[in-house]
Symmetry: C2
Subunit: 157 residues, 2 copies
């Protein structure tokens, strides 16, 4: 089962390496990871999406909790939460396909952030389902590059 | 100097741990990191923002390039590129502050994605400068939680 784990950690050198080793030592591949400073620059938040056996993920969470640089860890999978992802995607375009691409970008509430005669780049935000749906539709136009942030999440209420 | 490095890597178990160890072995703290699948599920893109001496960053890039799971590494710092970041932020609100918060969210082209009588959550996308400016303005309303994706970037053209 896929889990979405959020951890507040000290913004300190080596913490990311320690945490990613902890997952890889258990044989987990991390599906996505996003880490950035919070409103307190001494504290970072990591959002980790990982697929694996529930019991082993619980063990990893316990180990995460024990780490000296960990402030708080939560598994949001079963909790009410909001989650979003950002994707930048670059496609080829021709005079023939341009109007259709622009219309699809509007339907998905994306924004064109770069444009030249050969290709254009779009910024799009939403659930991973929405991001994947947009990416699939763009395949027929020729995707050149994709950069996804991975999911971030906050508990509701 | 702050560098924004983008790496295409095999989407394989342990790659993230290896790369983050490479940075921490050199004493670099990673300012932000985002990793997610590309349009080819066997390939992930990592975007790493790191501050450090230019010469040592070049050495780290060389080592990254030598790793068996690395497909391509670029330092976008000096290249024309587009970059964006996503932040979810939760603030307290009262009948007195609500209208002002909603107006500020509109000015920054954010979206309210969760709302209850005590607090509300906003999704906001832009350059890191814009994200930081919005966060600073929100401080006076009482920030409760922040989740940032870190920056992602694509070369222009």
């Amino acid at each position: 089962m896929q889990h979405i784990i959020t951890a507040l950690v000290e913004n300190r050198f080596g913490v990311l390496a320690n945490i990613s080793s902890l997952f890889s030592a258990r044989g987990f591949n991390i599906d996505s990871l996003a880490v950035g400073e919070t409103h307190d620059p001494s504290i970072s938040r990591m959002t980790i999406v990982v697929t694996g056996d529930d019991r082993i993920i619980q063990q990893v969470m316990k180990q995460l909790n024990k780490m000296i640089d960990t402030i708080r860890v939560s598994d949001l999978t079963e909790e009410a939460h909001v989650e979003r992802e950002l994707m930048l995607i670059k496609m080829g375009h021709t005079p023939k396909t341009r109007a259709e691409i622009v219309q699809l970008v509007e339907i998905f509430k994306g924004r064109i952030i770069d444009f030249n005669p050969r290709d254009l780049s779009v910024e799009i935000v939403g659930s991973s389902d929405k991001i994947l749906a947009f990416m699939d539709i763009m395949r027929s136009f020729g995707i050149k590059e994709v950069a996804r942030t991975g999911r971030v999440a906050l508990p509701r209420g």
